[in-house]
């Protein structure tokens, strides 16, 4: 079967022949038969819809939960980074994010989004770090990496922006491609690949084989254009950003320092 899924509404629609069934993140075991006419009400104004092809119900439920969890972690991160909110609220966000990041795959799910765009100037990283320090080690570690990788994230972002529009069928196609790259973790993978300085080609090979990206007609040309700026300059990043300690990626905080130290 196929499915339509939105993390923002916590809703998935299973499409099997003429049958439409909705499942919801709060009660994924319960399926509700739907008419096609109900679908706009189910998804409201959500713009984060994605299509899943050739999946079974268990896969849809799993994906819906992953996406909803990642959306929850992203929202908590943004609250933590928001200087307009009170210290109390930001502190609670740090605690809840710490709890969320304890579950398998949640750090990577969050990094997939946070590594896809440099932090806006309105984000308060020092304030967020201060609220995580001492009692939220996973959050602290996440923020330390985010701080250290900002120059790389910006480079990868600019490389994406610099890809000529002519390589995409339309502006909408470009947005769909970007959403797929973010969701499937390719921005994050490229940031990490550039950081190590030796695996851009491996990144490219893996991305070219990714089933979601392969649905885009311009997949090969776009990905090649994206990695081109990094092929000749691996030595720069290899020397500027040190490798974090083993085990750090899943939340074991490095005591008392940033990844650069």
């Amino acid at each position: 079967m196929d499915a339509l899924i939105s993390a923002r509404t916590g809703t998935a629609l299973l499409v099997e022949g003429a049958d439409l069934i909705s499942i919801h993140a709060g009660a994924p075991d319960k399926g509700i038969p739907r008419y096609a006419e109900e679908v706009p009400r189910l998804f409201g104004e959500a713009l984060d819809l994605q299509v899943l092809r050739g999946v079974d119900r268990a896969q849809v439920v799993r994906r819906l939960q992953q996406e909803a969890d990642s959306a929850e972690a992203l929202q908590l991160s943004l609250i933590l980074l928001d200087p307009k909110l009170s210290g109390e609220i930001r502190g609670e966000a740090a605690e809840e994010l710490e709890s969320a990041l304890g579950e398998e795959g949640r750090i990577e799910g969050l990094e997939r989004v946070l590594y896809a765009h440099p932090l806006p100037s309105t984000a308060d990283l020092p304030g967020a770090l201060a609220r995580a320090a001492g009692h939220a080690p996973r959050v602290q570690n996440l923020l330390l990496h985010l701080t250290a990788f900002q120059p790389l994230i910006e480079e990868v972002r600019h490389a994406w922006i610099d890809i000529p529009d002519a390589l995409f069928a339309s502006t909408a196609e470009r947005r769909r491609f970007q959403a797929a790259l973010v969701r499937e973790g390719h921005f994050r993978e490229l940031v990490l690949a550039v950081r190590t300085g030796s695996t851009v080609e491996s990144f490219l090979a893996a991305a070219l084989l990714h089933p979601v990206l392969r649905t885009f007609q311009s997949c090969r040309s776009v990905l090649q254009a994206w990695v081109t700026p990094f092929r000749q300059r691996k030595w720069q990043w290899a020397t500027e950003v040190a490798e974090p300690a083993a085990g750090n990626r899943e939340g074991k905080a490095r005591p008392g320092g940033t990844p650069k130290e």
Binding site: T9, G10, R41, V51, E72, A93, E96, A116, A179
Partner: protein, 287 residues
């Protein structure tokens, strides 16, 4: 029936157009123009008179007048998830919008047959040529929404929607099938005539002893099956933002929820900046 004339140039403007095709001056909103056609208003007036006469013959004259007065004070409510309300509340904040937008893209449905039902959405019958402009809400007397579409009920400011809203006698997704995709005249109305539509639809269920709380449940009720949901559907032409909200009502969710305390507190703080209250109902779980 001929199309109504443009109020400026006098030439006909097709009902589904939102501006005059001849002089390009803005016209009324297409859903409102359809509801205000003479044939629709006459049919609704007829249904309304029958409903009132029937209620009076059953000794419910007082109740029908009270119900009509109450229905005239109803608000439009959208039910949404926490994440959707957060998106609306934060849409003008760069920090949030930057990351929300990374995952947003107009979905492209696959070309194969399995997706045909979704391509043939019957909203085209109600909103020919402009269905993507329509937002769906429900009439509510007490600010409650249908929980099946989200725990948060967004109550809309009347002055922000009254000029662009129309109402239909039920859930259009279900009614259109029941009606075999032929919308009977007198089943929709412009916003200002919503009370008459409510009377035409519901007067037969009024009893002399009914209170305002009973009226609220009569207008909007969540049934065991979706076919049993009771609503008067509101169709709003055009976009909504947090500035369109009067208040937000949070109902107690049916299932267990985690990690929601900071998010709800942050949402409350952001809504407060815009002068919007976040009202809790049905439990003490919220901070």
């Amino acid at each position: 029936m001929s199309d109504p004339a443009c109020s400026f140039c006098g030439h006909p403007v097709p009902l589904e157009w939102s501006l005059c095709p001849h002089c390009a001056r803005p016209s009324l909103y297409p859903n409102v123009r359809v509801a205000e056609q003479e044939s629709e208003r006459d049919a609704l007036a007829f249904r309304y008179r029958l409903a009132v006469q029937d209620a009076e013959s059953r000794g419910c004259g007082e109740a029908v007048r009270a119900f009509e007065a109450a229905a005239g004070t109803t608000v439009a409510v959208l039910s949404r998830s926490l994440a959707e309300v957060e998106r609306l509340a934060n849409s003008d904040r760069q920090l949030y919008a930057t990351y929300y937008q990374l995952l947003e893209a107009e979905v492209k449905l696959p070309d194969d047959d399995a997706w045909d039902p979704l391509r043939r959405l019957a909203d085209e019958v109600l909103f020919p040529g402009y269905k993507e402009k329509i937002r769906f809400a429900a009439l509510s007397l007490d600010g409650a929404g249908l929980p099946g579409y989200g725990d948060f009920a967004l109550v809309l400011k009347e002055e922000m929607i009254e000029h662009r809203a129309s109402v239909l006698a039920g859930n259009s997704a279900l009614l259109l099938r029941k009606w075999d995709y032929n919308v009977p005249t007198g089943s929709r109305a412009a916003w200002k005539e919503r009370a008459r539509l409510c009377v035409a639809k519901l007067a037969a269920r009024l009893k002399p002893s009914m209170t305002e709380a009973d009226f609220a449940a009569l207008l909007l009720r969540s049934g065991a099956r979706r076919e049993d949901d009771e609503i008067v559907e509101v169709h709003i032409w055009g976009p909504l933002s947090s500035w369109t909200f009067e208040r937000v009502v949070l109902s107690r969710p049916a299932g267990p929820r985690r990690l929601i305390r900071a998010r709800v507190k942050a949402l409350r703080a952001k809504l407060a900046e815009a002068g919007i209250d976040l009202e809790e109902r049905g439990g003490a779980w919220m901070p």
